[in-house]
């Protein structure tokens, strides 16, 4: 009897001790010394690999668990409209390609790029008509491209990467949506466009894919962009947001099938379809981000890519003044994750 009482007493005391010690653990009320606001946060989500983590984290309840009051705004309808919505303040965050980000910055938008969740890895490509097998064979040929856009930038990079100057080809200004038709009508020798037009040109018009973005990593990075004011006012929320990204990215890397199943169910797709689109975009983890945010010359650094784009834009008169990457690429949130 007494032994039973003693066991019960010890169990109760142990439970109290565990509860008390667990009470010492930090509850997610702050991030790196910054308090969580608890205010709503409108962020973008789309059927795009770089946004998968947002949808998965929301489904898993990891934003809520981190103390964030997140509202996902689906931006599948129109990417550029969603960017306008964000810069106009109707959203707190959106996913920008680095090129578009610089364009918006050149329009005096005070935005900050804090995270590089993905790099385009095969979405954009040069498709040439049958008979043209290499980039060098494009010398003197007509290439359809949307001038002044990141497609022209990518075309220049592709050409330079293969030792060809952009001055050695004939650029034909054209909207991406119209390129396949022009290609089919033999009005151009090659096109540089994005999926699904790339696949359409290859499959329907027997085009040859000469090169795509997967072959030059880092040439077309995408990033999560916040308003600078938002970051200044709600640093705790931003850090928590980045932590959720890190957690979800690890989950996707370690459990790709369950992760893609969530997306497939959400968009009424098959898991194979989700896997196919995921292959067109390289998901970056924390280490990739630390590398990307390090200042460097090459395309493996966001700063290197930035300089390339900056030079391109300056040369093409897309922007009037070169912008300093260090002012708009904020690595501190990623670096904070790397702190013990």
């Amino acid at each position: 009897m007494v032994k039973n009482k003693m066991i019960i007493f010890i169990l109760i005391m142990a439970a109290i001790a565990i509860l008390a010690f667990s009470g010492l653990q930090k509850t997610p009320k702050e991030q790196n010394g910054h308090p969580l606001s608890g205010l709503p946060m409108k962020i973008a989500g789309a059927y795009w690999p770089g946004s998968f983590w947002v949808l998965i984290a929301e489904k898993k309840g990891w934003f809520k668990e981190a103390g964030l009051n997140v509202e996902v705004i689906f931006t599948d309808t129109d990417y550029f409209v969603s960017l306008d919505n964000m810069v106009e303040g109707r959203m707190d965050q959106n996913n920008f390609s680095l090129f578009d980000y610089i364009i918006y910055l050149s329009q005096n938008r005070d935005l900050v790029f804090i995270l590089n969740p993905d790099n385009s890895s095969g979405v954009e490509a040069i498709v040439a008509r049958p008979g043209i097998e290499t980039i060098h064979e494009l010398k003197g040929k007509k290439i359809a491209v949307a001038l002044g856009t990141y497609l022209e930038y990518e075309l220049d990079i592709f050409l330079e990467n293969q030792g060809l100057s952009s001055r050695e080809v004939i650029k034909v200004n054209m909207h991406a949506e119209k390129m396949v038709r022009a290609f089919a009508e033999n009005k151009v020798d090659a096109i540089i466009t994005w999926e699904p037009f790339v696949s359409e040109a290859v499959e329907k018009e027997k085009g040859i894919k000469l090169i795509d973005t997967s072959q030059i990593p880092g040439m077309s990075p995408n990033g999560n962009v916040f308003h600078r004011r938002f970051i200044q006012e709600r640093p705790g929320d931003v850090q928590a947001y980045v932590r959720v990204w890190h957690k979800t990215t690890q989950f996707i890397k370690e459990n790709p099938d369950p992760a893609f199943t969530i997306i497939a169910n959400m968009y009424n797709k098959t898991i194979q379809e989700v896997q196919t689109i995921a292959q067109l975009d390289k998901l970056l983890d924390l280490q990739d981000n630390l590398t990307a945010f390090s200042y460097g010359s090459g395309l493996n650094s966001l700063h290197g890519s930035w300089k390339q784009m900056n030079n391109f834009m300056a040369k093409k008169k897309v922007i009037e003044k070169r912008l300093k990457s260090i002012d708009y690429l904020d690595s501190s949130w990623i670096r904070n994750l790397d702190q013990p």
């Binding site: 109290i16 010690f21 100057s165 001055r167 390090s294 090459g298 700063h303 030079n311 990457s325 670096r335």
Partner: protein, 650 residues
């Protein structure tokens, strides 16, 4: 205070002391270790950052050197010098490629010997004269005058050409024979690459890079406006590479308004790397002391919290242990109290196998033994009632015995009493006969009776009748069975009463009574009837002893034997508060071997049918009941002397 309370207080006191001591020791040693570690980490972090800067600049240094050896550069410069036909090389394309593979640069330019910018990437300045930019011109001149393949570089300067701070690296481009300087390859280092290294997770940690002149050349991005404008507030050369504390007047962090108060500072002095010998810069890292000790404070709070939790847990355990350890003692205490109240059936139920358990077992055994050898209260009460009843029976029996003794005495006295009564009867009869005879003679003589003689006869009759009445009344009183009633009485008078009963018998047996009565004998408290019974018993025994001796003397034909009984009453010489009564006879005495048994009930030396053996036993009881003493003070062939002592009544 209860035992459990004491155990609780002692346990708590001990645990609190132990916890406080351990907590303090832990905090003190942890503070020391953490402070030392933080200091080492600060020094290492400063040195690492300085090394990172050196590595970055060394790469730029080496890359500009390698670019100066590129064949394409030589070709372009030779063409420009010789004013040959238009060069086939796309110089921009070449420089652009190098721009993104080396550096990082803000701009990369190939400059002719004459100082004309042949091509530039990063800034549209082709065709311009380098002399327009003072900083660039200075380095260009150094590079062009260099006779060896050596890289010339500036300190951090504000380039008018680049419109931002930069380090200008320049290397001469020689001809294939290394004899003639063809031009200069110049790179404007992207200083942002160094600035980015100053980004820190902790906004309160300040890092400043100073050039030899004490100007800020690098700091955090948000303090970039200080670059090449602000200066170290003290003497930079006094700083060494050890950890030290900077007070607010020398702290750049304080100066920059980041915080107030002292900081922990570490300095790393630039050492350069291989061919890049460095600029002699100073890196100052400042961390507010409160920031440094924050982990220690947090740890202290956690330790204190843990200590409080531990104390609370100990308190709970102490309470329980106090109760647990004291419980058997409490049970034992209760058991002892119950046993003390007489409940010898109670057993303590403790099954512990420790000393307390052994004690409980021993206690139970002890109570069991006690139960076996101890009479309980109920049993005592029962026994007392039994004894009381027995005593009553005995008392009743004793009273009956006394009465029997009396009756026996009366039986024994009956002959004497008859004789006592017979004598006055004889006198009355004789007197009556004599009177009748005289009356008869007078009637015959027809003379008047002699009145005087008749009166004398009637008086004699009356006197003897009265005497008979006294004897009868005394006998009635004596034979009455009464509870003992104490009253103040004169022992001498009691003896007088005895003589009524036995006096004639003694005379009849020719026994002389000698009365040595003290005339001023104090009265005693006693029952006259009972004492008379005692005296009668002693006188009867004396009578029998004297008669027995007389017979023996007669057999010896000693006719001169005179039996006598001497009664003495006086105040005892030894005990002045007592009356001493001595009854001495010159009878046959008591045999020595029977002297000690004479007061035992039913013991007699007389022949069968002559004594009950109760006389002296009853007499002994009566005297004891009076608080007195009765004993044989002398016995033998010359007779026996009984002594009675009774307390004088005051």
């Amino acid at each position: 205070m209860k035992l459990s309370g004491k155990i609780f207080i002692y346990s708590m006191g001990l645990s609190i002391i132990v916890i406080i001591v351990i907590t303090n020791i832990t905090i003190i040693y942890t503070r020391r270790i953490m402070t030392a570690n933080i200091g080492r980490e600060q020094i290492a972090a400063s040195a690492n950052l300085m090394g990172e800067i050196d590595r970055t600049l060394f790469q730029a240094h080496q890359q500009i050197l390698l670019l100066s050896r590129e064949k394409v550069m030589k070709e372009v410069l030779e063409h420009s010098l010789q004013a040959k036909s238009k060069i086939e090389v796309d110089l921009y394309h070449v420089l652009n490629e190098k721009f993104f593979l080396t550096g990082p640069w803000n701009s990369l330019s190939l400059i002719s010997r004459k100082g004309i910018i042949l091509e530039s990437v990063g800034r549209e300045s082709a065709g311009q004269d380098i002399g327009h930019d003072k900083a660039c011109s200075l380095i260009f001149q150094k590079a062009i005058k260099s006779q060896t393949m050596k890289v010339s570089f500036s300190d951090l300067v504000f380039s008018d050409y680049m419109e931002e701070p930069t380090i200008v690296f320049a290397a001469p481009v020689f001809d294939d024979f290394n004899q003639k300087t063809l031009g200069v390859i110049m790179g404007h280092f992207a200083w942002d690459a160094v600035l980015q290294l100053f980004e820190s997770a902790n906004p309160r940690v300040m890092v400043h890079l100073f050039n030899k002149q004490g100007l800020v050349i690098a700091t955090k991005t948000e303090q970039r406006a200080e670059i090449l404008k602000n200066r170290f507030p003290g003497n930079l050369k006094t700083l060494n590479e050890k950890i030290f504390t900077l007070e607010s007047d020398h702290s750049t962090a304080t100066h920059g308004g980041i915080h107030k108060g002292a900081v922990l500072a570490t300095v790393a002095i630039q050492k350069g790397r291989f061919a890049y010998k460095g600029h002699g810069w100073y890196l100052l890292k400042e961390t507010p002391l409160d920031e440094i000790f924050e982990p220690i404070h947090k740890m202290t709070i956690i330790i204190v919290k843990i200590s409080l939790i531990l104390i609370a847990i100990f308190a709970g355990f102490s309470l329980f242990i106090g109760w647990y350890l004291a419980r058997p003692v409490v049970l034992l205490t209760r058991a002892v109290q119950k046993v003390a109240k007489g409940d010898l059936d109670f057993r303590v139920k403790i099954t512990n196998k420790d000393e307390i358990g052994l004690l409980a077992q021993a206690f139970n055994r002890m109570v069991e033994d006690l139960d076996n050898i101890t009479v309980s209260k109920d049993r005592l009460v029962f026994a007392r009632e039994e004894l009381k009843k027995s005593l009553q029976d005995l008392t009743q029996t004793q009273n009956q015995l006394v009465q029997s003794g009396k009756l026996a005495s009366i039986g024994e006295l009956a002959a004497g009493v008859a004789h006592e009564l017979n004598q006055p009867l004889m006198v009355i009869r004789t007197t009556s006969q004599l009177s009748l005879r005289r009356l008869g003679k007078d009637i015959i003589n027809q003379s008047l009776p002699d009145i005087n003689k008749l009166d004398e006869s009637f008086k004699s009759i009356e006197k003897n009748t009265k005497r008979m009445m006294n004897i009868i009344n005394h006998l009635r009183t004596f034979s009455r069975q009464e509870e003992m009633g104490l009253s103040s009485l004169d022992v001498n008078k009691v003896f007088k009463g005895c003589f009524l009963m036995i006096g004639e018998q003694l005379k009849l047996r020719n026994i002389i009574i000698k009365e040595n009565f003290s005339p001023a004998l104090p009265k005693v408290s006693g029952d006259a009837n009972k004492l008379e019974q005692v005296f009668l018993n002693l006188l009867s025994n004396a009578r029998d002893a004297v008669v027995s001796r007389a017979k023996m003397e007669n057999r010896k034909e000693k006719a001169d034997f005179q039996g006598e009984i001497i009664i003495t009453t006086r105040v005892s010489d030894k005990n002045k508060d007592k009356v001493q009564i001595l009854i001495k006879d010159n009878g046959s005495g008591i045999p020595k071997d029977k002297k000690d048994k004479i007061f035992d009930p039913f013991f007699t030396t007389k022949n069968a049918g002559k004594g009950t053996g109760l006389g002296l036993s009853i007499s002994h009881g009566i005297i004891k009941a009076h608080g007195g003493e009765i004993e044989v003070v002398q016995t033998g062939a010359g007779g026996t002397t009984f002594q009675i002592k009774l307390k004088i009544e005051y």
